[in-house]
Symmetry: C2
Subunit: 195 residues, 2 copies
């Protein structure tokens, strides 16, 4: 197989990239962007070799501890639990949350072989017992599995007497009711707030 | 800047990849696909270093001559001229054309600094004079610049008495008239064919 065909196949591991996009990417890089493509190859390889999980919060980092866990400006009494490093990034960008994080890398899903150990619960229990945490914010996805995971964590926290909160649920800001799903409407209607 | 941020920036050189897709790609590769990502990095680097232009037809290849120019099964009396290696691949996949190719890597566009020399016309003239070519099929894009380029090539071929043809133009197969642009309709109407 020619090197070009190998490269087109290799690019198809990217999410959302099929044969046509892979072809377009290859020609673009090889014809117009070789220098940047070589840089991309070098950084990608270095990242694959060096980036692993933060030893405390399990987000992705090239060091033993991530930037947030190392910072002395974060509030040590709040811990936010999320499913993925992408969720962590979303919360960092969208809110002024100043506590620390813990990344599950998934949600409880026995059928996929994801149990408490795979989600790092032993490490989480360790953090809850050693750190001065007063509030755990469980920001798992608003899916069935995400909410089951949240319930599980909430029970864990209750045992050690730590307050647990979850994200408010209701209609998204700027959303038109016509396009909001029925479950969300029903929940938002039932939990309506007084002006 | 963290290695992760560098990687996210690096991925944004890909056509059609913005900050959000780059983030998604990075997390996907680092969390689930590290082995394939390392392979991609290796192949990408090797491709950037080894892939260049075929010395005869100017398409992309890792060797001095591409697979098609090396083959003794191609018809040496037909030469198809296209703008890009992607166009070459399209014609190879869609047709049973068995002649050889010549890739311009662009179209005549003085404003972009693309003149006859940049498009390899000296090499093209050399091919036309040395090879037993009886028909040149000019398959440049059906744009103003592509057609200007085609005219230029047709004149060049006339001087050395070689027949020049272009792709038929009209309504696309399977296209609904309602969505075909007015220029195409006008051309197709004027050049209507008898059943």
């Amino acid at each position: 197989m020619s090197l070009l065909s190998q490269l087109m196949n290799a690019f198809q591991i990217l999410p959302g990239v099929g044969p046509k996009s892979a072809q377009r990417i290859c020609f673009n890089l090889l014809q117009k962007n070789k220098d940047n493509a070589i840089k991309l190859a070098d950084i990608l390889k270095e990242a694959c070799e060096k980036i692993g999980e933060c030893q405390r919060c399990r987000t992705l980092t090239e060091n033993d501890l991530c930037r947030i866990c190392l910072s002395d400006k974060r509030n040590p009494s709040q811990l936010c639990i999320i499913e993925t490093p992408a969720d962590l990034m979303q919360i960092e960008q969208a809110t002024d949350y100043s506590g620390t994080y813990f990344v599950l890398h998934g949600r409880l899903s026995p059928i996929d072989g994801l149990g408490p150990n795979e989600l790092g619960f032993p490490k989480l229990i360790d953090i809850l017992s050693k750190e001065p945490i007063k509030e755990v914010i469980v920001a798992t996805n608003s899916t069935l599995e995400g909410q089951t995971t949240a319930q599980y964590i909430a029970q864990m926290c209750q045992k050690v007497d730590i307050k647990t909160t979850g994200l408010a649920r209701g209609v998204p800001l700027g959303g038109e009711l016509e396009y909001v799903d029925a479950n969300t409407i029903a929940h938002a209607f039932g939990s309506r707030e007084e002006y």
